[in-house]
């Protein structure tokens, strides 16, 4: 089943009168449960593609179906809802709220979920998530009291709090040392295999990409490799 389907996506930035094409006629299909690495040199357009996939940016032309719904032309509020329910983000620099406990960081997205849960239910789910990423005893620590790897695990728990079908990770190991990187990647692998969560990692490290089942390479705004689903995935 196709979770993500891009059809002839163009993205052009306008700088004054000048047109700068960043993505050119990109078509891509990612199935539910895949573990994909998105690779490319800086300036290749992979961040732009990532932003479009993550519903943070809109394409200039083409269609983007996420979970069967065209999301490129939804209103800003509807897209915020899509981000809240269907997408989890993990960032290179963790982006945790300072001076806020791990638990509060994890349950933060629930505040924006329509028909919100009770406080108690939110906290219960947050604890569950932290337990899943192995930080049960660090629940009430603030980011400054956690190591980089722990902070990224808190960020992963936050991304997963609304049980989204897809998780986007933008250079998730960029700020981590090699040992904790391995831990985080292992966690992605586990999440993909056990929970059947679709994972898309943006990276320029071949090592990280090697952890994924399928690598998509972008060069100069076009996909040059990995456009078709590899045999290994579901």
């Amino acid at each position: 089943m196709e979770l993500i389907e891009l059809k002839n996506i163009d993205k052009t930035y306008f700088i004054g009168d000048m047109q700068v094409p960043v993505l050119r006629n990109v078509s891509l299909t990612i199935r539910q449960g895949e573990y994909v690495a998105l690779m490319g040199a800086s300036g290749s357009g992979k961040s732009t593609l990532m932003n479009i996939l993550g519903c943070l940016d809109r394409q200039t032309a083409g269609d983007y179906f996420l979970d069967g719904e065209e999301v490129g032309r939804l209103s800003g509020d509807r897209r915020a809802m899509v981000r809240n329910r269907k997408i989890g983000f993990v960032f290179q620099s963790f982006n945790l709220l300072p001076r806020t406990t791990a638990l509060d960081n994890v349950i933060m997205p629930l505040a924006y979920t329509a028909g919100g849960l009770s406080d108690r239910e939110c906290r219960r789910r947050g604890m569950e998530m932290l337990e899943k990423v192995g930080l049960k005893e660090r629940m009430f620590h603030q980011p400054s009291q956690l190591s980089g790897g722990q902070q990224q695990r808190v960020a992963i728990a936050r991304a997963l709090i609304n049980n989204p079908p897809v998780l986007f990770a933008d250079e998730p190991t960029g700020n981590l040392d090699s040992r904790t990187s391995v831990d985080v990647l292992k966690m992605f692998r586990e999440l993909n295999e056990k929970e059947k969560i679709t994972i898309i990692i943006v990276t320029h490290s071949a090592e990280v990409a090697g952890n994924a089942d399928r690598s998509i390479r972008i060069h100069d705004g076009q996909i040059v490799d990995g456009i078709f689903t590899g045999g290994g995935a579901v």
Partner: protein
């Protein structure tokens, strides 16, 4: 997103940096505290002023007879005897803005008690209504009664200065004094009222039924001054108390000499009380029309009486204090605006500082409306908290003023309500721009912001 949630997010965001939150609030705290202190001490001084004016008689209307003219020579104010006790009764019956009225007869007489003597500032003849109009409580004994007035009894009530001079602090109630060879029994001692605004000692007074004063004490004086209408000479020192008549009987000679029943008895003044101090002016108009009618004045004739009321005086005094209060309030409001600018400044800094947080919140599903709400509520919470602290501080300062400077202070619930509204308004007005700016951020740029 639930409002309660937004509030808790705002609280947590503020608690992340409590020192800065406190410093930001300071402007509002000082502004509100100033407003509250101003309002409370302003209300206090207004109240004490009102009490002072009421003790002097707010809403009192004095009706004086006009000037008599004899062959082009004016005899001056009060020389024309035109006011009668019937005028007083008629005013009370017909004027709807009056709650009470009393006729007054003035005299000046030496008072003797035992081996001491004293001449009080005022010797007044009146009815018991006078005490309620002047709002004058008793220290001891009782007032004389309406019946005493009708029978012209020789009873009186004295002021505290007079009592001190004649009885050396002992209670004078029950003692007898002599006024122009008439022996009065003292039935009551008035509570001290102090000097009036002109420094005139109000307690140096003897008050007796007006019939008694008119007929037994002031008779000779009035006869001398009232040149236009001679005092009825048949008035006796001891009028017929048995019949309870107010006026001396009319004898046969008089009946034949005067076809119209003459106005026998005049009073020097009528003191009336408006139902409310604000109604004094309307009552005055009504009194004029009633008295003109009763005195049968034609349209081209001047009033044969004069009226003074304390409304003007009261207005002047209250307007002075309220002007001062308003002036200080303006200063306080300016400090509130300065405080509001401070809040806007800090909120702008905070939005810039938390750009990444805003980007993150948008990425995980916050709509721009949610962001706007969050920052707006943060600034409102800041301002309201500042307002509450300011109210407490201001009230505390007002109490300090009360106990150390001995200024009158009155708690003012309106000021508290106004302070809360103003601080919420400042929060919205000065928090809106930063919040709007935050909500318009692009999540991609915001997430990448360093």
């Amino acid at each position: 997103m639930k409002i309660r949630n937004t509030f808790s997010i705002a609280f947590r965001a503020l608690l992340r940096n409590p020192t800065r939150a406190l410093l930001t609030m300071l402007g509002i705290v000082i502004g509100i505290a100033a407003v509250i202190t101003m309002m409370e001490s302003g209300a206090g001084s207004a109240a004490s002023l009102r009490a002072t004016i009421e003790s002097m008689g707010a809403g009192n209307i004095m009706i004086l007879p006009g000037a008599a003219r004899t062959g082009g020579v004016s005899m001056g104010q009060g020389s024309n005897m035109t006011l009668t006790p019937d005028d007083c009764t008629a005013l009370l019956q017909r004027c709807e803005f009056l709650s009470d009225a009393a006729p007054l007869v003035n005299a000046r007489a030496q008072i003797v008690a035992g081996n001491r003597n004293w001449t009080p500032n005022q010797t007044i003849g009146t009815t018991p209504s006078y005490f309620s109009i002047r709002n004058w409580p008793l220290e001891d004994g009782e007032y004389f009664t309406e019946r005493d007035v009708q029978s012209a009894s020789a009873v009186c009530v004295v002021g505290s200065t007079l009592a001190r001079e004649l009885f050396d602090g002992e209670s004078p109630v029950g003692h007898s004094i002599r006024v122009k060879n008439v022996t009065f029994r003292i039935v009551g001692l008035l509570a001290a009222k102090g000097a009036n605004m002109m420094g005139f000692d109000q307690d140096d007074v003897l008050i007796a039924p007006w019939t008694t004063i008119r007929q037994r004490v002031a008779g000779s004086r009035s006869a001398a001054t009232a040149s236009s209408t001679p005092e009825v000479s048949t008035s006796t020192t001891y009028p017929g108390g048995s019949t309870g008549d107010l006026y001396p009987p009319v004898n046969a000679t008089m009946q034949t000499n005067y076809r119209l029943s003459p106005r026998f008895v005049y009073v020097d003044q009528i003191l009336a009380l408006a139902a409310k101090p604000e109604l004094a002016n309307r009552a005055e108009e009504e009194i004029i029309s009633i008295l003109r009618e009763r005195h049968r004045l034609r349209a081209d004739q001047n009033n044969d009486f004069r009226i003074r009321n304390s409304a003007e005086f009261l207005k002047m005094l209250t307007s002075t204090t309220s002007m001062m209060t308003n002036l200080l309030l303006c200063v306080a409001l300016i400090s509130l605006i300065v405080g509001g600018v401070g809040i806007m400044n800090i909120m702008l800094v905070s939005v810039t500082e938390r750009t990444r947080e805003i980007g993150l919140r948008m990425a995980v599903g916050a709509r721009s409306r949610d962001i706007l709400q969050q920052f707006l509520i943060e600034s409102i919470v800041l301002c309201l908290a500042g307002g509450v602290i300011g109210i407490l501080l201001g009230h505390g300062a007002a109490l300090l003023v009360k106990y150390h400077l001995k200024w009158a202070v009155e708690a003012s619930p309106e000021a508290v309500v106004a302070a809360v509204c103003v601080s919420a308004f400042v929060g919205i007005a000065f928090g809106f721009y930063p919040a709007w700016k935050a909500s318009k951020l692009d999540p991609i740029d915001a997430l990448r912001y360093e």
